[in-house]
């Protein structure tokens, strides 16, 4: 009997202690982590919309207006797609002509050293100034595509390109904007 009870008690106590310490650490760090994530998101928006000084939410977590003072200078959109080994979360900016102003990969879990190179500026800079119909990989669509893939990794760049293209497409068709903001693009 003792052989059964002692291990069970020890294991339970271990788990209680582990759960308690995790709960404690979570309480201490929760607010700080949320704050860090907010700051990071805003910094990411600044990167893809360098001209903007402020951002206004149009559709929560999907679409923002980039403001320079009071004038709208562009928009920021978020996009998601399935990469090689997990979900890619991307935000990108567009100017008033709907050309991409910059993209940033917010989260990714691609293979380090291969697919993970999609976060490098040498890859993301390619998107700058491209309209929606050029957002294809060169190797997938040599006629229209203007984006180079990465040696040894095709799936990750393809996923990024597809995510940006489809999110931008949806925005241009007016699907994203609750208040029909797409129609005001060229006032």
């Amino acid at each position: 009997m003792k052989n059964l009870i002692v291990p069970a008690v020890v294991l339970s106590v271990t788990c209680v202690v582990a759960a308690a310490s995790l709960a404690l650490v979570d309480t201490v760090t929760k607010d700080k982590i949320a704050e860090n994530e907010r700051v990071e998101k805003e910094n990411a928006m600044r990167v893809v919309q360098p001209r903007a000084t402020g951002f206004k939410i149009v559709v929560k977590d999907k679409l923002w207006e980039a403001l320079d003072g009071d004038t709208v200078v562009g928009r920021v959109l978020s996009a998601e797609s399935q990469g090689y080994s997990g979900v890619l979360s991307i935000i990108f900016g567009i100017d008033l002509e709907n050309h991409v102003t910059g993209i940033k990969i917010v989260t990714q879990t691609e293979t380090p050293g291969l697919g993970a190179k999609i976060i490098k500026p040498s890859f993301t800079d390619q998107y700058r100034g491209k309209p929606v119909d050029q957002l294809f990989l060169k190797k997938d669509d040599p006629a229209k595509g203007k984006i180079d893939a990465i040696t040894g990794a095709t799936i990750s760049p393809r996923a990024v390109t597809k995510a940006v293209r489809e999110a931008l497409d949806a925005f241009l068709r007016g699907e994203l904007t609750a208040a029909g903001a797409a129609k005001e693009t060229t006032p």
């Binding site: 020890v10 271990t14 995790l22 050293g113």
Partner: protein, 237 residues
């Protein structure tokens, strides 16, 4: 054993990657460049030191039947705590290491040391053992990272230290050997490092044997009675 010896064995004689050869999965995945390798090494070192100490502390309280679940709980808790703390206070480092931290839980070197060492030894020795294993792991994985980065891309990545990558072999004339970025390349690099490790080990052993022999001979010519003592002193070094 002396404290230095306890650390030193992780560095060479019982190096986690080159000799124990456990946890190679994490080694393969995170050694494509210097930055990632260094990050993995540091995160790993923190967790193995912590888990060795905690497990050594509770070693007399935990019944044999449930020791493995207890170890896993301890390791997983430590990893999660490390993850949260890094996210909250050093978000930049956490961003670089983010992917690797969960991988540490499944690194069997930590389980291996818990089972083979910390559960049988005191806190201080277990701490030193963890430290030695951590340093040994970090040094070797960083070396693999440098070699793979160099051969695969011609660069040494320093982004973890907040610096720009060093391009050693320009991509203008060095296209990079892709296989070194992929897992098979890691096996090749590790294989050659193991061979090198054996070679150094052999050379050291030969040098030691020669020294012992000459000591013996010297001692024998000087005074035959103390020859045994001379040899045993040498053995301990």
């Amino acid at each position: 054993m002396k404290p230095l010896g306890e650390i030193g064995k992780g560095l060479f004689k019982e190096n986690p990657i080159l000799v124990i050869m456990l946890g190679l999965c994490a080694t393969l995945a995170c050694s494509t460049n210097f930055s990632d390798a260094l990050g993995m090494g540091l995160a790993f070192s923190f967790v193995i030191v912590g888990s060795n100490v905690v497990i050594s502390l509770v070693r007399r309280l935990v019944p044999g039947q449930v020791r493995i679940p207890v170890y896993i709980t301890v390791i997983a808790t430590l990893v999660t705590v490390a993850d949260y703390v890094m996210k909250a206070f050093v978000p930049d480092l956490s961003r670089s290491l983010g992917v690797f931290v969960p991988l540490i839980v499944v690194n069997c070197i930590i389980m291996g040391r818990a089972e083979a060492f910390a559960s049988k030894n005191g806190v201080w020795r277990s701490f030193l053992d963890g430290l030695g294993m951590g340093i040994g792991f970090t040094v070797v994985i960083a070396l693999i990272g440098i070699l793979r980065g160099l051969m695969g891309e011609g660069t040494i990545s320093l982004s973890l230290l907040g610096l720009k990558d060093i391009t050693v072999l320009s991509d203008k004339w060095y296209p990079g050997v892709l296989i070194f970025i992929l897992a098979p390349g890691a096996f090749l690099v590790i294989g050659f490092l193991i061979a090198l490790h054996h070679k150094i080990g052999d050379l050291l052993a030969t040098a030691k044997a020669r020294k012992t022999q000459s000591n013996l001979r010297q001692a024998a010519t000087a005074s035959p009675t103390v020859s045994g003592e001379g040899a045993s002193t040498d053995d301990r070094q």
